[in-house]
Every structure is written in C-alpha cells, then in structure tokens.
Amino acid sequence: MNVAQASKLQSGAEAMPDKGTCLNLYSRMLLIRRAEECLARLSQEGKFPGAVHLYIGQEAVAVGVCSTLEARDWITSTHRGHGHFLAKGGELKSMYAEIWGRADGICRGMGGSMHVADFSKGILGANGIVGGGFAIATGAAFGAKLRADGRVAVCFFGDGAANQGVFMESMNVSSAWELPTIFVCENNGLSEFTVSSTVTGGALVDRARAFMPTTIVDGNDVLAVRAATEKAVARARSGKGPSYIECITYRIRGHLEAEEAFLAGGKYRTAPEIAAWQTPERDPVSRFESFLGRQGMADAAVLSAIQQEVADSVEKAVAHAEAGEPADTKLAYSLMFAGQEA
C-alpha cells in the first residue's frame, strides 16, 4: 500500500487511552527509534559483530500491540526483532550487550541481534527463519488453550513471511482449535530486496479471512494498532479464537544495515518513496508526538523530559555493552542440552 492508501485507513484516535498510557506509548516508541538509530550509527563504525535489521518506521506496530498485553502473554518475533523485544518489556541494556556479543547479553552472546529473546517476559525470540514464529506462537497458544488460563500469543510477521505455508498451517490449527493466537502482519511492502507485490498473489488479508476475523489498520498509527489489538486480545482471552491484524507500514532503513554492499548499485525502491513515509504526518513517532501536543497531553517540557530519559537509557546501554566481557567461548558445549554435555 502506498502512503495515500494507508492514510485512508481508520484512525485509532477515537479509542483513546488515558494520558499515562499515551505517554508510555510515546516513550516506548521513542526508545525503539533512538536505540535503532544508535545501532545504525555504531554498525557503520563497526562497533559490534554481525548484522542488524532495523525496525525504524514500524515502531507503532510493536508498541501498539504490546501495550495491550500482559507480562504473562507471549510474542514471537522476526529477524527484525529489536522493536518487539523492547515493546514487550525486554531490557535495552541486555539487548545491546547481546548484540555486542557479551557474556551478560540476554542470550549470553550466543544468539545476537537475530535471536534476542527473554522467555521470562514472554518474548519467545526474534527468529532468523522467516516464518519461524508462526508455529511457535500457535504452540504457545495451544498451551494456553489447554490450561484455559487466558494467556494470548501474538505472532509478529512480515508480508514476505506471509508467503510461507506455515502461515496457513498455523491459522488453520488456531482456527480449528479456537486458539488465542493473534496474527500481526507488518506489511511494509518489502521482502528483502523484492517488492512483495511482485511475488504475492491476491491480498494477504483474504488468506486470513478464510479462518478468522481480520482487520487492516494504519500501522503507523499507534492508537489504531492498539485499538485493533485490544479487540483481538479480548476475543482471544475469552476463548473465542484467533484474529488477524494487518498493519500497513514501511521500513525506512535498508533490509539490513549496509545493504548497499549487497546491492552493488542495484535498487529496489526510490528515495521519494522512502521520503513519503518519513513526513511528520506519516512517521509513527513524530505523528504521535504532535497528536499528544494537540490533545494537550504533553507540552514541550514533558516531551523533552521523555526524550532526555530515552537518550540517557541509550547512552547507558551503549556504555554497558562496550564495557562488557566477551561471551564465554566454551559455553556452547554446555548449552545444547539441559544437564548434558554436547
């Protein structure tokens, strides 16, 4: 979907949360934004090993969705997982430490950017396999259903991942068994360096419609995302089954940092296309910032306090990661199995 079409989607402003919630939404989105910008910079400087896939431009999805979840709920994430991790309550410090390959990283330096996970917070992991989260979320939801404990499992996935057959399989199981699975499609129109529409038949939402209630929202409108998720969560918690939410959004950065090196001059999108999604009206963060102002929820002082706090967190997290010990080089042998050497 282009910007013009996305702008016509229903806004979430009518389902307005209270001020405290709104400020939290804002500060969480800003934290993701600043943390990712910092990674973009430090990646260029070669400050950490491995590749990073940045979430800039899609913050409203992770934050809008996770703002409706409880700590005990689960999410599965993607290769572009930092935003989900932070939105679900993951700690920036230990995420950075992970990306730096540190011993005190959230995964002790064993997983890196593409595998940040915190099971204690219901974050069942970023995933390097496109579509890898579908079945995991569905399995967790199956567990919740058996226990009838009202927990829900959210599966974040991209429009590219929606072409993996496990998408249909998971929707089928979730629908047949009325599982509390919430399928959140982040449709950014891109699948690596391929424009998704060139490899996609029909509309994604129609695939889901065969199984469950669906909705398409402006994925750059955090309140719209939140409102849609609230409905899906209510349905899931009450045992009625799965839902599908498609969030129209856009990825601002490259597929991965330093994608130019892979592309060698090749292009899959234009600068104006990117710019159209970065205007203050489209950008999820600045747009919500203006909205808070217009609603009288936050004046310049409040905003700058939040901004300062976020900046401090990022700075501290970098310092922490930089100062960390490298991961234990012998750890792998003891981690493959519980209580058994590899």
């Binding site: 689960w74 599965t76 990283g105 959230i106 995964c107 002790r108 330096g109 064993m110 997983g111 595998h115 996970a117 915190d118 099971f119 204690s120 069942l124 992991g125 995933n127 390097g128 396999i129 890898g132 579908f134 079945a135 995991i136 979320a137 569905t138 399995g139 967790a140 939801a141 199956f142 567990g143 919740a144 058996l146 226990r147 927990r151 499992a153 057959g165 496990v166 399989e169 998971s170 089928n172 199981v173 047949a176 750890l331 792998a332 003891s334 981690l335 493959m336 199995f337 519980a338 209580g339 058994q340 590899a342």
Partner: protein, 327 residues
C-alpha cells in the same frame, strides 16, 4: 517380568508417564485412533485435552511442540513415519536443535518425538527411510532407538522425563516382536549401551531394528566357532563411546551394523570413533553393514537386497578374519 510386544511396551510407557505427569500431552495425525497401536486407549483414558489428532501439517506441528513447552507442557509429537520428519524438518533443525543455545540457555525443551522407521514391509521409498543420521547431525537432539520391549518402555519413559528434545524411533518392523519387560517402574538411562551378547572374537555394534539381526548373525557365527559380542547402543545421541571402545579392546575387531544409509550414516560415525579412539585395539578393518546409498525399493526382493541381513553381517565378520580365540 512379563512378556510384551514391543509396541505394547511403548503403549505402557505412554500410559504410565501420562498418568504420572499431567503436563505430558500427545499430539499427532491420527493419534486418537492410534493406528500404530502405540497410542491405543490413551484417548479414551486421557481425553481430548491430552491426546489430540492434528491436521496434516508437519512443518507447523514440530514448531508447535516447541511453543507448547513455553506453556509448561511436555509435548509428545507422533510423526508417524520417519520420512515425515523431513516434512517437518525446519523447526526441528533450525529451531528446536538450536534454541537452547541461541537463548543462552534460558529454556529447557522437553519434547519427545515418536516416529517409526525402517524398511522391510514393501512400503517403498517414502515410508521406509531411517532418519536418525540427519537428526544425529543436528547436535541438539537426543535419539533413542530401542531394540526390544524392555528398552522400548524404559527409554521412552526416560525421554518423557527428560528436559531435552528427544526422538524416540520405533523400528517399524519390530512392533510385534515379543520380549520380557520388568514390572513396575522401569527406566533405561540414555547413553548406556547394553551388551546384548557377550563374545570375545569380534564386536558387532548396532542399534534399534538391526540388533535382532545381529543376534541372529552371532548365533550363526557361534555355530562356526566365532564368538561375537553384540553391543546394543540403545541411544545414538548420547552415544556410549566407552562401551564401544571397551568391546573393541576385548575383541580387536569391529563390524558396525545399522539401518541407515552409509554416507554420513550412524554406522560411519561409529566406525570413525573406532578409527580414532579405538585405533590401538583394532586388528582388522572396520566393516559397515548398513543401507547402501539408495532409496528403498518397493519390490520385496529388491528391498531385501539393500537391507542389513544375517548373511551380510556374517560375511563382514568373515571378511575381517575373526577367528575363534585359543581358549
């Protein structure tokens, strides 16, 4: 002790473990009607919240097993035939075998997979494969391959109590085989081979479906005056290297027998261990009797040709000049 079929022993283990721990659930295609017999009666006893037929979607089922562990379940996923392990391989290889490492050890992954493997029934290439080599190569998955009723029960119970992912591979051709099973609580530890028959002249190391074949071969050899020691590995991950090495130390000769294709198969791996850590003991080449590098043909004669057999084992032993030792 009581005599039971291999498949009944499995069924008993499932019953007992599901009684013991209400967090154990069993899912899979057609498990409610229990077509292999291993799950017989479980649905009637435990109901749909513990035993559940799934749609046909192996790629999702394997991943779901992982997800359900997050909710505190020990999932038993019945995959029917080992060939379908390939269908659901992604989540096994990319998620389950790696997830504990990738999360820095945050989690335990208590999953038991069940699948029947092996040929002998004219089931053709897509229903006769042995998947243990590809599973063994993944690194993070235990693989149990019982050869008899007692081990079938004891290994499965151990798998279900373990906090690690495990494939429990049923020898398709052995389901009806009878054997003594200890009464009461019976657990067989992983990574402890059994000496299925003691002998002094040659070691035959084997596992699962071919243990019986090896014992028959040992009998034939005994009649010719050669005392073969048959080692039943019971689990190939973990693998009891010490037992293999100790046996070679006694006999100086080794034939490895298993029902998997030769190239990067289980037999090759065991031979490699012998060629390294057991080298000093070896007096003769290490022979492998397994499946040649082919898919399993349908026609009975053509199938028999590629499966391990008593004749092939005896021939391999004779080839390396195992002779009766001076008393």
């Amino acid at each position: 002790m009581s005599r039971k079929r291999y498949i009944q022993a499995i069924n008993e283990a499932l019953f007992e473990e599901m009684e013991r721990d209400e967090n154990v659930i069993l899912i899979g295609e057609d498990v409610e009607l229990a077509i292999f017999g291993d799950a017989r009666g479980l649905y009637e006893r435990f109901g749909r919240n513990r035993i559940r037929n799934t749609p046909i979607c192996e790629a999702t089922l394997t991943g779901m097993a992982l997800g359900a562990t997050a909710a505190g379940y020990h999932v038993i996923l019945h995959m029917m035939f080992a060939n379908f392990v390939y269908t659901g391989f992604d989540a096994i290889a990319n998620q389950i075998a790696k997830m504990r490492l990738m999360t820095g050890g945050q989690i335990e992954i208590p999953i038991t997979f069940i699948a029947g493997y092996g040929g002998g029934g004219s089931n053709a290439a897509q229903h006769s494969d042995s998947a243990h080599p590809v599973l063994m190569n993944l690194g993070g998955i235990n693989v149990a391959m019982p050869s008899n009723s007692a081990d079938a029960k004891g290994l499965l119970k151990t798998a279900i109590r373990s906090r690690n992912p495990c494939f429990f591979l049923e020898a398709s051709a052995r389901g009806g085989q009878m054997g003594e099973v200890p009464d009461g609580e019976h657990l067989v530890p992983f990574g402890k081979a059994a000496i299925a028959r003691a002998g002094t002249d040659v070691s035959i190391v084997t596992v699962g479906s071919t243990v019986r074949t090896c014992l028959d071969a040992a009998q034939t050899l005994a009649e010719a005056g050669i005392e073969a020691e048959v080692i039943d590995l019971r689990t190939v991950v973990p693998l009891d290297e010490d037992a293999v090495l100790a046996s070679i130390a006694r006999t100086g000769r080794l034939v490895v027998v298993d029902e998997s294709r030769d190239r990067c198969g289980a037999g090759s791996y065991i031979a490699a261990i012998a060629a390294d850590k057991g080298f000093k003991s070896l007096k003769a080449p290490v022979k492998r009797v397994n499946i040649p590098n082919v898919a399993i043909p349908y026609a009975p004669g053509a199938e028999a040709e590629v499966l391990p057999s008593v004749e092939k084992i005896v021939a391999a032993v004779n080839q390396i000049g195992a002779r009766r030792r001076a008393a």
